[in-house]
Amino acid sequence: MNTASPKHAKNAEAFLRDEENTDWHNETLWFVRSKRDRAAQSLPEWEELREQASQIKAHALSKLDDYLIQLEENARKNGIIVHWAANADEHNQIVLDIMRKHKATKIVKSKSMLTEECHLNPFLIKQGIEVIDTDLGERIIQLRNEPPSHIVMPAIHLKKKHIGDLFHLHLGTDAGADDPQYLTEAARIHLRQKFLLADLAITGVNFAIAETGGFVVCTNEGNADLGAHLAKVHIACMGIEKVIPKAEHLGVFLRLLARSATGQAVTTYSSHFRKPAPGQEMHLVLVDNGRTRQLASPDFRNSLKCIRCGACMNTCPVYRRSGGHSYHTAVAGPIGSILAPNIDMKEYADLPFASTLCGSCTNVCPVKIDIHQQLYKWRQVLGEAGVVEPAKKVGMSGMDVLFSRPWLYRFAGRAGRWLMQTFPTLANKASLNPWAIHRDMPKPPEQSFRDWYAQQNKKTNG
């Protein structure tokens, strides 16, 4: 098998070249993480809530088939048309077929990472359909022809100035304008027209409830509701892991989701959809796309608990300094680095290594996914499969030889220190030692601890 190239490292390096921008990105996300901390600290029962959420999800995953069937039955009873998609292509085709049936050519879409994962937009655009993302951040990156860089704040990598320039170009706002209120107003007028003309609305699903056959969509802008209420057809697309058993479980997740995501007590709009309004049609598309494969793997099953709050990204010191695009996948950051190799192991082999395994992600995760431990496990899987960079492979085999043989280790240590003492510039030469591009090597001591210890013993005993 070929080996993957370290794309993340290269992308990160490019991102880091503008240090001022990196600092701004880092601080902006840290600000969100701090808001999350304050919101969490305001609930003394926070850790219990996390535990409950984790257990509810674990239970739902252990009987996922039952709950999905129950969801389907109840949704049908409510008058929702239910579809099943094994993969991204099937999902996109289902959406297209519904559109064709209704001769729809204009759709409005609220934020859905699943449709990103399935690359729905490019697929529909190729069929001549107008797809408008109605979440403000999503619309911004759509106009820029970029993927989202964050699952909750898709345009967090952009400054007001960028948005001003973009809107000037596409929406005719004044050149150089960067007042958020003015820009938001322009976006609102632009989106209003799109909402009114749309034939069909697509939304994501945050939680689907097996017991009731309904589902919940959370947005801060109300755009999902506006789209779904105005269009005569509403398609809701969900990954199969989004099902929870009962309505009474919802409160646990709604309390955790917004606090973890942005530090808000609750998302501004948590809309419950249960049945189509008179004269309207409602579809629910249930998508697998690798999820059952993940479910079958005890090591990685936990990652299906994810409620896509984005907290792991905001806290991740690597994400904060490399930006979402460095991860070259729909879902960036720590959780994305676990999900992506499940979709394509070779393409995303670099991502589980784009982490220091500091463990902060695991601690903020509202559903207690053992994120950094799963990254570690992925590394083992990738190492076994032979898809890591050759340099790593060679280096590690060398270390194995060295450290399993104490005499060789002693010799190499002495030789290494001697080399560094004799040729100090060599160790600090950036072309030979990447460490030395921005950092200096330690000054090598005369003697190792071991040599000192042996000498001491000789002194006292001899």
Binding site: T22, W30, F353, N363, Q380, Y409
Partner: protein, 246 residues
């Protein structure tokens, strides 16, 4: 109690003074310490790079060396964490399990086992920044974590507060990663360096004269940045501070 001193390979080679300070500190607390001479590495570099299976030789060597010890103590949170989680042997599974349960990071050994509440001789009249290493803190639970809603505590801080004259500086990010991350520091060089730089700046902004911690690997990363900046701020392992004045 037969205490085996575990000095990780990079401490052995680059920071012998940390090994010496650890040994002296334990001896000053009346602990009888032996240092098995044939020890090498805990195996973490391979395991973290996705080659845990290549650490079998390391594991075997470790088990051989420390078989006679009741407990093993090492001045490195990340190596100790690796041993606690991954030390493995198909030939001697019981011995591996016993050692996994009896390996301690230096600070946790001092606070939890020896219950050190005073260090009468320790004196270090400087402004000190404590770098809380991730593996020590989140992995071994050496201190409370800013992400969790839980009571605050810190084992290394408890020990540093026993040192006469030491002024512990507050930090804006008390538990941010330094960016070392094993081979991450080489394969993600640009990111790792930036993280190191940011970590150092937090300490400098608060007027630290010395940066300390329980993991020499993190401190090596911070030292690398400081030296490049030609800064007069030094790094010292916590064992060196706890034995200063002796």
């Amino acid at each position: 109690m037969n205490v085996g001193l575990f000095i990780p390979c990079y401490v052995d080679q680059f920071y012998p003074n940390v090994g010496i300070a650890t040994l002296r500190l334990l001896e000053s607390l009346d602990v009888k310490v032996i240092f098995p001479m044939e020890q090498t590495c805990c195996g973490q570099p391979m395991a973290n790079s996705g080659f845990q299976r290549l650490s079998a030789g390391c594991d075997k060597n470790f088990i051989q060396n420390f078989a006679d010890c009741d407990v093993v103590v090492g001045p490195s949170g990340s190596c100790v964490l690796h041993l606690k989680e991954h030390l493995h042997s198909s030939e001697q599974p019981e011995e591996a399990a016993r050692l996994r349960g009896n390996v301690y990071e230096l600070c946790e050994f001092l606070t939890d086992v020896l219950k050190v509440d005073a260090l009468p001789k320790a004196r270090f009249p400087h402004r000190v920044g404590l770098h809380t290493s991730c593996h020590g803190q989140r992995g071994l639970g050496l201190s409370s974590m800013s992400e969790l809603v839980a009571p605050k505590f810190s084992k290394p801080e408890h020990l540093l507060r026993l040192v006469d004259g030491l002024d512990l500086v507050p930090l804006t990010h008390p538990d941010e990663c330094c960016g070392f991350g094993g081979t991450f520091c080489v394969f993600e060089e640009a990111l790792s360096s930036k993280m190191g730089k940011d970590r150092v700046n937090d300490h400098l902004r608060h007027g630290a004269e010395v940066i300390t911690g329980g993991d020499m690997s993190c401190l090596m990363q911070l030292e690398g940045v400081l030296r490049r900046q030609k800064s007069s701020v030094r790094v010292m392992h916590i064992a060196e501070i706890l034995t200063s004045g002796n």
